[in-house]
Structures are given as structure tokens and as C-alpha cells.
């Protein structure tokens, strides 16, 4: 406590120099705290948005049905049975050739049920999506996306037009928004997309039967994906003789995963850069502490003559360096807080908010402490090692 007071006093004796010395630490801490807080806040805003767009879906793939194939009726029963599950949509795909008038192109056709719309967060532009009656009647109806409509038919407002898929005639009943960044479009770029009833796909494609191999699950409101995953796993284990290898459940949260890994990389990168500036700040502290030790050689001599041990002198100068660092750190955090407040005020009204991240604050405090100790040790040790007579006779 006493040494802390002493340290504050010797720092206070030369305020301008102390502030200039701390500047390195202040800027380093600011860089660290502000950048990491910005990245984290921005990421959490985007991730919130992404997850609100229905990314809370699970994919189930059955690899071995043990002679108990999954049918459409099973899916309907499961939705009713499990509270945590709001929707289940089977899906199967087929590649076909689509024709309209003289235009043609290769299509990826998804055979599914109405639940698919909700689970995948599709956006309807006009008309309607598939209905349960379409499934029951194996209706020849399809829903296409806007891009497909423009490419094949020539205009988007094409509800009621009839297109041909591998020679079978399908009526367009709805047009949905094209998924710009969908993972599938990345791989299958250029192909056109149509959604048709699962039961219709059975007739269209030889590869698809009444047995369902893969389906999507959407979690109900008030439940998280993990709840649905747990309940479904339980249910499927019962059905498939407790064989975990018969099926697989994976949460398709690719966007969130990608976002979080990008944000982690960014945080580490920016944090690393900020850490470098903190180290530079630490070198500044070491430099000024060395000057201080030289300036106060006589004081060190006096202290030693009247009985200060090496340890006492070492501690005195070490505490001074650490206090200098921690003051800089506190100032840096305070300024960062101000900057983030101003930033939040500027983007107020948008979905963005900038918050001081607790972890990065704790991290920078720890880091500053370590820097204070590491860079204070050499000057403090230099002071402690001085011989009392040499120090006493220094400069007079």
C-alpha cells in the first residue's frame, strides 16, 4: 500500500512524461478493446440476423432402415408427437431437363413437402408454395425461383405457366426469391431450381421411392436446435433398434459456423496486431524506467545507505512500472468505452450495437500487467544491483 502511494507520487512528479509514456499502452489497449469489441458486436448482430432466417434446421440421413423404412406418414406423426419439432420435410433431388416453349435448361428438382418452406426460410414472391393436398394428390405443380423464371420463361410473373420437366407437364403455382448465397447454388451454379411435391418426384425420378432417405427438421419456437436434435435422436434410436450408426443427424448451420470462424480469425488477427502495439508500449515503459533509474541513482544510493535491501529497491521500481502500465490500461479502456458509446450513437437505429466486451477488457488488463512486470523487471533489476557507494557519489 505504501509502495503503491510512493509509485503514484513519483509518477505524479512528472505528469507530462508519464502521460507520454503511457500513450503507447493507451493506444495499444484502445486498439485491442475497440477492434475486438467491434468485430464481436458486428458478428453477433449478423449472426442474430442469420439465425433469425431459419438456420435452426437439422438434417437427418437414414443409412440403414432395418427393414422399417421411413414414410411420409411417419414424418407427420413425429411432428405431432415431439413438441420441440415444428416441421419435418423430406427431400430428394433429381436432375432433369426443363422446357418452356423453345427454351430449355438443366434443372435440379427438389421433391419435398410444404414444411420445407418454413424450415429453409424461403421467401415467396407470388403465388403459393406446395400444399398438403398437392402431396396427397401427387399434383403436377411446381414452385420455381425468380432467376429460373426469368431464365426459362423470360419473366418472373409466371404463375399459371406450364413447364415441362423430363416431358411431364408441371404448372407453376409460385415463385420464390432466389437464394443468392445458398450453398447449393455455389456448387450447382447455373442450374435452375424447381420444388415439386415429394410424391410427384417419385413418379418423375426412378431414384426416388416412397422410402424417405433424408429429411429436414425445424425446431419449434421456444426450443433450441439442440432440443429438437435430442428428441429426434431418441425417437430414431427407438425406431432403429438403438443403433446409432443407422442414421445421422447434423445441424446445418453452415452460415453461422462460417461467420463465427471468420470472426474468430478476425479477432485473433486484430488482437494480435493490437498486442504488438502493446508490446511497443511496453518497450516505451522500459525506456522511460531506465531513464528514471539513471536520474534517481542518487536516491537509490541514499535508500540503500539507510538500509533498503536489493529486494526493496527492485519492488519499488517494479511497482512503479506496473502502476504506469495499469494507469495506461485503465485510461485506454475508458477511452475505448467512450469510442464505442459514440460508435453506438452513430449507428443507432440500425440493428448494430457496440458493447465493451468483458473478456477483452480482462484480457487487456492481464496483458498490461504482464507487460509492466516483464518490461519493468530489467530497469528495476538495474536499480537494485547498484552499489551503494557508486550510487551515492553519482553526480556529486
Amino acid at each position: 500500500m505504501l509502495s503503491l502511494k510512493m509509485a503514484l507520487r513519483s509518477i505524479g512528479a512528472n505528469k507530462m512524461r508519464a502521460v507520454l509514456t503511457m500513450l503507447g499502452i493507451i493506444i495499444g489497449v484502445m486498439a485491442l478493446v475497440v477492434l475486438v469489441s467491434l468485430v464481436t458486436s458486428a458478428t453477433s448482430t449478423v449472426t442474430d440476423k442469420v439465425s433469425s432466417l431459419g438456420s435452426s434446421l437439422l438434417t437427418v440421413t437414414v443409412s440403414d432402415d432395418k427393414g422399417k423404412p421411413v414414410k411420409l406418414e411417419d414424418l407427420r406423426r413425429w411432428v405431432d408427437k415431439e413438441d420441440s419439432v415444428a416441421a419435418i420435410a423430406p427431400y430428394a433431388t433429381a436432375s432433369v431437363t426443363g422446357k418452356y416453349a423453345l427454351n430449355n435448361g438443366s434443372f435440379t428438382v427438389y421433391g419435398t413437402t410444404p414444411d420445407y418452406y418454413q424450415i429453409n426460410g424461403l421467401q415467396l414472391l407470388m403465388g403459393r408454395f406446395l400444399k398438403n393436398t398437392d402431396i396427397d394428390n401427387s399434383s403436377r405443380v411446381c414452385v420455381i425461383d425468380e432467376q429460373t423464371a426469368e431464365d426459362l420463361i423470360g419473366y418472373a410473373d409466371c404463375v399459371g405457366e406450364v413447364i415441362s420437366l423430363d416431358g411431364q407437364k408441371y404448372t407453376v403455382v409460385g415463385v420464390i426469391e432466389t437464394e443468392e448465397m445458398s450453398i447449393t447454388s455455389l456448387f450447382l451454379g447455373g442450374t435452375m431450381t424447381a420444388y415439386i411435391p415429394y410424391t410427384s418426384l417419385i413418379r418423375l425420378s426412378d431414384d426416388t421411392g416412397t422410402t424417405i432417405g433424408s429429411f429436414y427438421i425445424g425446431a419449434a419456437d421456444g426450443y433450441v436446435v439442440a432440443d429438437a436434435e435430442r428428441d429426434m435422436k431418441q425417437l430414431l434410436l427407438e425406431r432403429f433398434d438403438e443403433d446409432e450408426d443407422a442414421f445421422s443427424i447434423s445441424s446445418v448451420n453452415l452460415i453461422e459456423e462460417a461467420m463465427s470462424s471468420i470472426s474468430n480469425v478476425l479477432s485473433i488477427l486484430l488482437g494480435g496486431i493490437a498486442a504488438i502495439s502493446l508490446i511497443v508500449g511496453g518497450i516505451g515503459i522500459m525506456n522511460i524506467m531506465l531513464v528514471t533509474v539513471t536520474e534517481r541513482t542518487r536516491e537509490i544510493g541514499i535508500r540503500k545507505a539507510i538500509g533498503a535491501s536489493r529486494h526493496t529497491i527492485l519492488r519499488q521500481f517494479l511497482i512503479e512500472a506496473v502502476v504506469l502500465c495499469m494507469l495506461g490500461c485503465a485510461l485506454g479502456i475508458f477511452i475505448s468505452w467512450g469510442i464505442l458509446q459514440i460508435g453506438s450513437a452513430i449507428v443507432a437505429g440500425t440493428a448494430m450495437t457496440f458493447r465493451l466486451q468483458g473478456t477483452v477488457v480482462i484480457l487487456s488488463v492481464l496483458f498490461c500487467f504482464i507487460i509492466g512486470v516483464v518490461f519493468g523487471l530489467y530497469p528495476a533489476n538495474k536499480a537494485a544491483k547498484m552499489k551503494p557507494i557508486d550510487a551515492l557519489h553519482y553526480g556529486g
Binding site: 544510493g301 535508500r303 540503500k304 538500509g307 533498503a308 536489493r310 551503494p388 556529486g396
Partner: protein, 223 residues
């Protein structure tokens, strides 16, 4: 109290070896007031450094209160200086940013004395040198004589076995010098052991026992 047996100290300055102390023998009894007088370069500062445990001899033996100093580590020496020796220097050597009372308090802090006792002893020491109403002043706000009195208070506050004064009047006018010397005499009468090092005959004469030093050798002077 102090016993130097055949103590030598040699400095290497460039190519030249300077024998600052040449087989010195000295015995100072408790409650003695001894002055050591010699011109500059005679080795009196080296003698003072060795007696004050600021430096160790190259050869010979130094017993302080019967304990051999040679065997001590640097930290042990710091403790000996703290507890047994009170220094008074020519240039006062107060710490400029500490007030008078804080300067006096410092050796007690290093001893680990508790706050309450520290304050009482600082007050007592400052009263003894007549500076109780200057306690809060910084050294720069005090006259030379007052600064030296603060230094004396700092030397007294630990109740040391030995007070070691190195030219304590060197930076003071003759009137103030006499004041300080009277203070030393008073301290002596109160039972303190004092070793005073000086080049000034008038000052040296005021001690009970005067020792001459020249070229690192001592000669006793009987007045």
C-alpha cells in the same frame, strides 16, 4: 564497538593501483566521540565506507559489535546499515520529493516498524533536532542547516549503535556548522557513539579523540 584489524583496500585506477587503506588498525569503544581528519585523497572516505558497511575491505578483518562484516551478503549489509548505523553526509542526501518527516520515516519503513510507532518516533527525532514545526516541508524549502538537522534526525530515529558523519559541516557556514557540532556533542553526551570524518582541524578538535589519516595510514593524536 568498532574493531579494524589490518584492514587494506586497494583501488585499481587505470594501470595504477592505489592503496587507499594500508593495514589499518582502529578500535573505537562504545560512547566514544572520535574524529578522523585527513586531507582529500588520504583514504578517509574509503575508511568511512568500510566502517559504514557501504563497502567491504580487500584484506583484514572488521568487527562491528563483535560481528565480522566480511562474511555478510549485500542484503545482510543493508540490514546492518539500517539497524546499527546512522549516516550524516556532507551533502545531506535527503530524498528531494519526500517531506522532512517522510525522509526521517524511511529507515523505519525499511525496518518494518508499524505505522503508529513510526509516527511517534519520527516526531520524537524531529523534536530532538528542533524541527517539529518543519515536518511537512520538502528539503528544498529548508535551509542547509535545517536539511542537515533532518539528516541527523534520520540517523537518530533508528537508535543506531554508531553515528557516522562524513564532513557534516562541509556545506554549511561557520555559524551553522557550530550549531551542528553542538548537536553532535549533545548526542555524544546522551550516550551515542560518533565517528566524524573531516578535513577541518577546528571541527576535528571538538571530538574527544582525534585520529589523523594520511596515505591510508592512521596516527593517533593526543590533545
Amino acid at each position: 564497538m568498532i574493531e579494524l584489524r589490518d584492514v587494506s583496500k586497494i583501488y585499481q585506477i587505470g594501470d595504477e593501483r592505489v592503496r587507499a587503506l594500508d593495514h589499518v588498525n582502529l578500535h573505537v569503544h562504545p560512547h566514544e566521540f572520535v574524529s578522523v581528519i585527513g586531507p582529500s585523497g588520504s583514504g578517509k572516505s574509503t575508511l568511512m565506507n568500510i566502517i559504514g558497511c557501504l563497502d567491504v575491505a580487500d584484506a583484514g578483518q572488521y568487527l562491528l559489535d563483535g560481528m565480522p562484516i566480511e562474511a555478510y551478503s549485500e542484503n545482510d549489509l543493508a540490514q546492518v546499515r539500517n539497524k546499527k548505523i546512522g549516516f550524516v553526509f556532507q551533502s545531506f542526501n535527503l530524498i528531494p520529493k519526500l517531506s522532512a518527516e517522510e525522509n526521517v520515516e524511511l529507515p523505519l519503513i525499511y525496518q518494518g516498524v508499524k505505522r503508529g510507532e513510526r509516527q511517534a518516533r519520527v516526531k520524537e527525532a524531529l523534536e530532538r533536532v528542533g524541527l517539529e514545526n518543519r515536518a511537512k516541508h520538502l528539503p528544498t524549502e529548508l535551509s542547509g542547516g535545517q536539511q542537515q538537522r533532518v539528516a541527523i534526525a534520520r540517523a537518530l530515529v533508528t537508535r543506531p549503535s554508531l553515528i557516522l558523519a562524513d564532513e557534516p559541516t562541509g556545506n554549511l557556514d561557520s555559524h551553522t556548522s557550530q550549531e551542528i557540532m553542538d548537536m553532535f556533542k549533545e548526542m555524544h553526551e546522551q550516550g551515542n557513539t560518533i565517528v566524524l570524518i573531516t578535513h577541518d582541524n577546528d571541527i576535528a578538535k571538538q571530538a574527544r579523540r582525534v585520529i589523523h589519516i594520511l596515505d591510508g595510514r592512521l596516527t593517533e593524536v593526543n590533545l
